[in-house]
């Protein structure tokens, strides 16, 4: 085929992420086309508006990353995105992609509009073995032990729980706590069914109690970015961090070994359930025939087993197809694969809630985590209100 | 002044001109005919509308009402450049970034006059104004007088029918002013163009003008040659405006005195024998008597009527000596020769020259 330049925009700019993207690019270039990298730093919040302006402004890129879920819904409805059903059928995506909810999120009116590339799960507690050694306590096995060990850590001058200042981190931590403390059903009732009475109920009150603990433990982690928070754990300045599996990439870049230097507790060691959010690539509708063809090639390449392995190993996430061999996977990743195999999965909040509701949630939790004078009760009231009006 | 003249006889002719700025009416129904080759001075105090009128003639302001003719052509809606006028401004308005030569030739270059012709005209103007050595300089390197000359030159090169001057000398100091005044007069004598000259300096007006139009609040009060304006001012305003120091005004009434008519103020009588229009004066009328400071003699036993007065202030001005006198409740200024000095408080005798005095009606303020 003719070499076609395809511009791909994404917000993967941290160390592990960039290495992972390089794998995608390499695979795509190998098909004889050319991957033009359009990285936009500063997380999805910064990058997404730019991507959307370009698509709606009539200057679309060849492909773009979105969190997979509802972020591109309207673009699809407006007819701006390319229908990938032909590629999906030819490649039998329906059969190979697991869990199937991933593909469901890409499907609108029966047509497939995106190519999922990985599964990210949020429900991880990353612990620094060195920090606990310094504090003279054993590395905790679950959330409750972790909370119990906080005073010892503090005494040793270590921040028990690192939480970065970006709003989505606090929100994510809360969602994780909810699954761990209240369980899968409550989680689904609140976020899937938008049941405001449950959201105002005693189960969620417990979650807020836990969040209150987390808030207390996070005092003093004066960082913004998630990977800076991870870095606190890596360097032993913080005891632990609730963060998705992408944090693993950072440990890898820092040459730390799971089990030896750090410990990972899926589901906070309480409920071993993980969410299956992730990233997907969307393909704007292009007028240029050549580019449209290249888009199909790219979509195919993204789900190619080899690409999946190479990419996900670097990214620290799980592949979207079950039929790949992940012998090289590390400890934590294997734990994740196990849980996935058991089917202990939930959908990610990105898939369940609109960006608008997500944003409102973020506003609430970033305030809650930063403002100790806000009581859990007040926060829960506001939370219930958001759920009541969520869509 | 011939208000009935046909348009074609006049060089510039203004018919029923009115101009308003928003709701403020600055010129009101103004009529003015300026003869070919005439030097007309517009004189008036600040804000009376002189510049506004000049700008109307130049086409820099649009008239609200009325028409303007130049050389018989209706130019009311013409562009300034098509009116055959040149204009000289108070602040010189030279283009600072251009040399004198470029300043002079700018208008010609804009009009795409051939270079040879431009050179010829610039050379001629430079010669007339004696600014040949300055042609390569920029305005900032010129003195005030030189700048003003260049400004005049700019109108000169354009070979215009009518020169408009807007207070061209008032930014200069007294000495330079009197020098350039003479030059402008000489220029007019040699060019014989029509010139319209705005000023609020009466010396300029008196020395330069063929005719003076005295304006007040947008209305022409009198249009006459300087001598008439000076000696027979049409109304109180003109009389007070012209002459420095100002004419002395005494308020009183006319009375019958012997066989003639006399003026009476504060219990003192002044015989009006010799007044040029004494036959029109009726006793009993309330009037204002105006006498110029140089028409009062001090201690010069003229044989006529004499009045007692006391010297209040003396202002020696070199060639002249100005006395401020107290006389029957009035303060009066009198001009005497600079060599004659008086001490403050001295008693003197005054005699009035009524042949050149003016009598105004107290109500209409018109000269009788």
């Amino acid at each position: 085929a003719n070499a076609t330049d395809l511009e791909v925009t994404h917000w993967w700019t941290s160390g592990g992420e960039a290495a992972a993207v390089a794998e995608l690019a390499k695979a795509f270039d190998a098909t004889g086309n050319h991957w033009v990298d359009g990285a936009i730093a500063g997380s999805g919040g910064t990058a997404r508006p730019i991507m959307i302006s370009r698509i709606t402004g009539g200057d679309p890129m060849g492909a773009t990353q979105f969190n997979h879920g509802r972020q591109a819904e309207e673009l699809v409805q407006a007819g701006l995105m390319r229908d990938l059903t032909d590629v999906a059928t030819a490649e039998h995506w329906k059969d190979i992609i697991r869990p199937s909810s991933l593909l469901d999120s890409c499907t609108i009116d029966g047509k497939i509009y995106c190519a999922p590339v990985n599964i990210h799960s949020w429900q991880w507690l990353w612990l620094s073995n060195a920090a606990f050694k310094k504090a003279g306590v054993a590395v905790p096995k679950n959330w409750d032990e972790f909370v119990a060990s906080a005073p010892a850590l503090e005494k040793a001058g270590i921040i028990p729980l690192a939480v970065g200042g970006q709003p989505w981190q606090a929100t994510g931590a809360f969602d994780v706590l909810m699954v761990a403390v209240a369980g899968k059903d409550v989680f689904n009732k609140v976020f899937k069914d938008k049941d405001a009475t449950v959201a105002a109920g005693p189960e969620i009150a417990k979650v807020f109690k836990a969040a209150d603990d987390a808030r207390k433990m996070s005092k003093g982690s004066n960082v913004q970015d998630w990977n800076q928070a991870t870095n606190l754990v890596i360097t032993g300045k913080a005891g632990g961090q609730i963060m998705g599996d992408w944090a693993q990439g950072e440990f890898q870049v820092a040459k730390q070994v799971a089990g030896k230097d750090y410990t990972c507790l899926p589901g906070l060691g309480v409920n071993e359930i993980i969410s299956t959010g992730g990233d997907a690539f969307y393909f704007p509708l292009l007028k240029d025939e050549e580019k449209s063809k290249a888009q199909a090639v790219l979509a195919k390449t993204l789900l190619d087993p080899k690409t999946q392995v190479a990419f996900n190993l670097k990214k620290g996430s799980l592949p979207v197809r079950a039929d790949v061999d992940l012998a090289a996977a590390n400890d934590c990743m294997k734990k994740g694969l196990d849980i996935l195999a058991k089917g202990n999965v939930i959908q990610g909040t990105d898939q369940l809630l609109s960006a608008d509701s997500q944003k409102q949630k973020e506003d609430l939790f970033s305030e809650f985590f930063a403002n100790p004078s806000m009581t859990p009760e007040d926060a829960q009231k506001r939370f219930a209100k958001i759920i009541a009006s969520a869509d | 002044m011939n208000m009935n003249s046909t348009v074609s006889n006049a060089s510039v002719s203004i018919k029923d001109l009115s101009l308003n700025f928003g709701s403020v009416s600055v010129l009101k129904d103004l009529n003015l005919d300026i003869n070919d080759g005439e030097f007309l001075v517009l004189l008036g105090s600040s804000g009376c509308g002189k510049s506004t009128l000049l700008n109307c003639i130049a086409g820099l302001l649009d008239a609200s009402e009325g028409q303007i003719f130049i050389k018989g052509k209706n130019v009311t809606w013409e562009e300034p450049k098509d009116r055959g006028i040149g204009m000289v401004f108070q602040s010189y308005a030279l283009y600072p970034q251009m040399t004198v030569e470029k300043n002079l030739s700018f208008g010609l270059r804009v009009a795409k006059v051939p270079q040879a012709e431009i050179d010829k005209r610039v050379a001629r103007a430079a010669e007339i104004l004696q600014i040949q050595p300055l042609l390569k300089r920029k305005p900032a390197e010129l003195s005030g007088g030189q700048r003003q000359r260049v400004a005049i030159g700019r109108a000169l090169v354009r070979d215009v029918d009518v020169f408009l001057f807007d207070e061209p000398l008032s930014n200069l100091d007294a000495k330079l002013r009197s020098e350039l005044r003479v030059e402008i007069k000489r220029l007019h004598q040699s060019l014989e163009n029509t010139m319209i000259y705005v000023t609020h300096d009466q010396i300029e007006a008196l020395t330069l003008a063929d005719r003076i139009a005295i304006m007040k609040s947008g209305i022409i009060q009198q249009l006459d040659d300087p001598t008439t304006i000076y000696n027979r001012p049409r109304n109180l305003f003109v009389a007070g405006f012209i002459g420095s120091p100002s004419m002395n005004f005494l308020r009183g009434e006319l009375i019958q005195s012997g066989d003639g008519i006399a003026f009476r103020a504060n219990g003192v009588n002044f015989s009006l024998a010799g007044y040029d229009a004494s036959e029109t004066l009726q006793p009993g009328r309330k009037v204002v008597l105006g006498v110029r400071p140089e028409h009062i003699k001090v201690n010069e036993n003229t044989g006529g009527e004499e009045h007692d007065a006391t010297v209040d202030i003396e202002e020696p001005m070199g060639a002249d000596n100005l006395l401020w006198l107290k006389h029957a409740g009035h303060t009066m200024s009198v001009r005497v020769n600079g060599a004659r000095r008086f001490s403050v408080g001295a008693k003197v005798k005054l005699s009035f020259d009524m042949t050149v005095a003016s009598v105004f009606d107290a109500e209409s303020e018109l000269r009788l």
Binding site: P49, Q224, D356, A370, N371 | Q67
Partner: protein, 301 residues
């Protein structure tokens, strides 16, 4: 006669034709972008547009939600506090510096350059640098602590109650140089004789400034206030670069709310409602000024 005059009267539209043609970009910008864009925005603030503008009207729902949102209220409060403080401090510092610079000092050029150079830097850069200087771990706080005052605490960016002051410090650093310049220009425009008159009258320097010079500089102050105020309403980059609105929502500002809801939350309607409220705020500032500046009874010259 009159008829003849009117006959020569050219079409009013064609007079100054060149000026009108040359003003087309301005007219287009004013009408299409500013007026058109504003009306468009206000119009769509009554819809529930999400990612893309859509004509589904929901009345004033967006506004109700807006004013019920704690983040918006915080943002407005922050803007008011930041606005007032930054206006006062900019004027005071700018004026003081200008007054000092006006004392026929040596090295005037050097000082002026020093005060003005931050203005050349973007808010992004300003935010980054000050974020760093104010960082408790290695910024001012840690330096002072390492000098022996171990209990010294100066950590505005991570203390919700005072975070706005941390932003203020950076904003003042960036902006006061320009204010100083404006004030200096104003001071230099004051008639030298006024100073002499005041000295002969025996009026102390500070009183001359306070009671005579400052009142005379009214136009300069108005221009300056307009410039500062327009900057305050728009403040966005600085907050994003320095705190991203944090900790929590304690340094949120309206412009950021607009941006976040329009683009991150993909709720254009909410963003438009918020920007409409900002426009109303602007109008409240602008209208009195425009009245003072261009309105009735303004003296010429």
């Amino acid at each position: 006669m009159t008829g003849q005059a009117q006959a020569g009267r050219p079409n009013k539209l064609l007079r100054n034709l060149n000026a009108k043609i040359a003003s087309i970009p301005m007219i287009l910008t004013a009408l299409v972008i500013f007026v058109g864009g504003t009306f468009w925005t206000v119009f769509y603030s009554f819809t529930n547009s999400k990612l893309l503008p859509r004509l589904s009207f929901v009345g004033i729902d967006q506004y109700e939600r807006l004013w019920a949102a704690p983040r918006w209220v915080t943002a407005i409060e922050n803007l008011a506090l930041y606005g007032i403080l930054s206006l006062i401090f900019s004027l005071v510092i700018g004026f003081l510096l200008a007054a000092l610079m006006d004392q026929k000092i040596r090295f005037e050029n050097t000082f002026r350059t020093i005060f003005l150079y931050p203005f050349a830097l973007s808010f992004i850069v300003t935010g980054l640098v000050w974020q760093w200087i104010l960082n408790p771990e290695f910024g001012v706080q840690s330096v002072v602590r390492s000098l022996g005052w171990t209990s010294f605490t100066f950590n505005p960016l991570y203390t919700p109650e005072i975070v706005i002051y941390g932003i203020l410090i950076a904003a003042l650093w960036q902006g006061t140089g320009l204010v100083m310049c404006l004030m200096l220009a104003g001071l230099r425009g004051i008639d030298e004789d006024i100073w002499k008159a005041a000295r002969v009258d025996g009026i102390p320097m500070w009183k001359t400034y306070l009671l005579i010079v400052i009142p005379m500089m009214r136009p300069v102050f108005i221009t300056t206030i307009v410039i500062i105020a327009s900057g305050i309403v728009k403040v966005y980059d600085l907050v994003v670069a320095q705190t991203s609105g944090g900790p929590g929502i304690s340094s949120e500002v309206p412009a950021k709310y607009v941006y976040d809801y329009m683009f991150q939350a993909q709720n254009l309607g909410q963003g438009f409602a918020a920007s409409t409220m900002m426009l109303v705020t602007v109008a409240i500032i602008i209208v009195p000024w425009a009245y003072l500046e261009f309105g009735g009874g303004r003296k010429r010259g």
